[in-house]
Symmetry: C2
Subunit: 140 residues, 2 copies
């Protein structure tokens, strides 16, 4: 049987990776905010049941992004920290950009959450350029 593309590659690429980034970013945020991250914190943040969180964390742990023990807190591995930092930067660019064109903070946060996964390097670079230029002409 000749080399065949992985039948599930598309699913994983389209859904699971975005989820991984969202969770990793959330874990980092919660750790910063309250010192440690628990399953319950993630469930509240993502507005899903703790069951969903537990299962996703297992997958992230298998993938080397998350480190944890049963009934213990949720931590990030070096790779997870790396991903969290990149996600956070990207998120902040999109939020700042949306606010800059007149979107309220609440809506900017909301929309960025979904949009950030679809903003390519080129688009992020354009947003950055726009923010830099806007700084110059900004009224105050």
């Amino acid at each position: 049987m000749p080399n065949r593309p992985n039948p599930f590659a598309k699913t994983r690429r389209d859904h699971a990776d975005e989820t991984a980034e969202d969770y990793v970013e959330a874990i980092a945020d919660i750790e910063i905010a309250s010192g440690s991250c628990r399953v319950k914190d993630l469930a509240e943040r993502m507005q899903v049941s703790h069951v969903t969180v537990t299962r996703i964390l297992s997958r992230l742990a298998d993938g080397g992004l998350v480190a944890r023990e049963p009934y213990g807190p949720v931590g990030l591995t070096p790779r997870g920290l790396e991903m969290a930092a990149a996600s956070r930067t990207r998120h902040e660019i999109v939020v700042a950009f949306l606010e800059r064109i007149g979107v309220s903070n609440a809506t900017a946060e909301h929309d960025a959450e979904g949009m950030e996964h679809h903003a390519s390097k080129e688009t992020l670079a354009a947003m950055r350029r726009f923010l830099s230029r806007a700084e110059d002409v900004r009224p105050g």
Copy 2:
């Protein structure tokens, strides 16, 4: 600063709706481009197997967005046409906006495909305003 809202659950919940919009928009595009839309056309466009297309079309037909007969072409109901028009407008706003801030057409089309589902009314309005203002100072 980690007082971020919880929009993630919503984006997951709405994923099926995003799919509906993508397919409805694609059907309209294909009909315009080649006169009629077939399962095969959609499979090529979405880069999935015809099986996936068939199943999704069944759901859209159940939902009153798509009209079709076995082995026949794929059509849109009035509601489907309505959704397609709205999706198209939104898509065009996002593409025009991205191009305006310096993103290439190819990338703008690509990124808009994913971003458009996460742009709220408020964000779309801001993009529209930006495009109008840009018209004034940037002839073109």
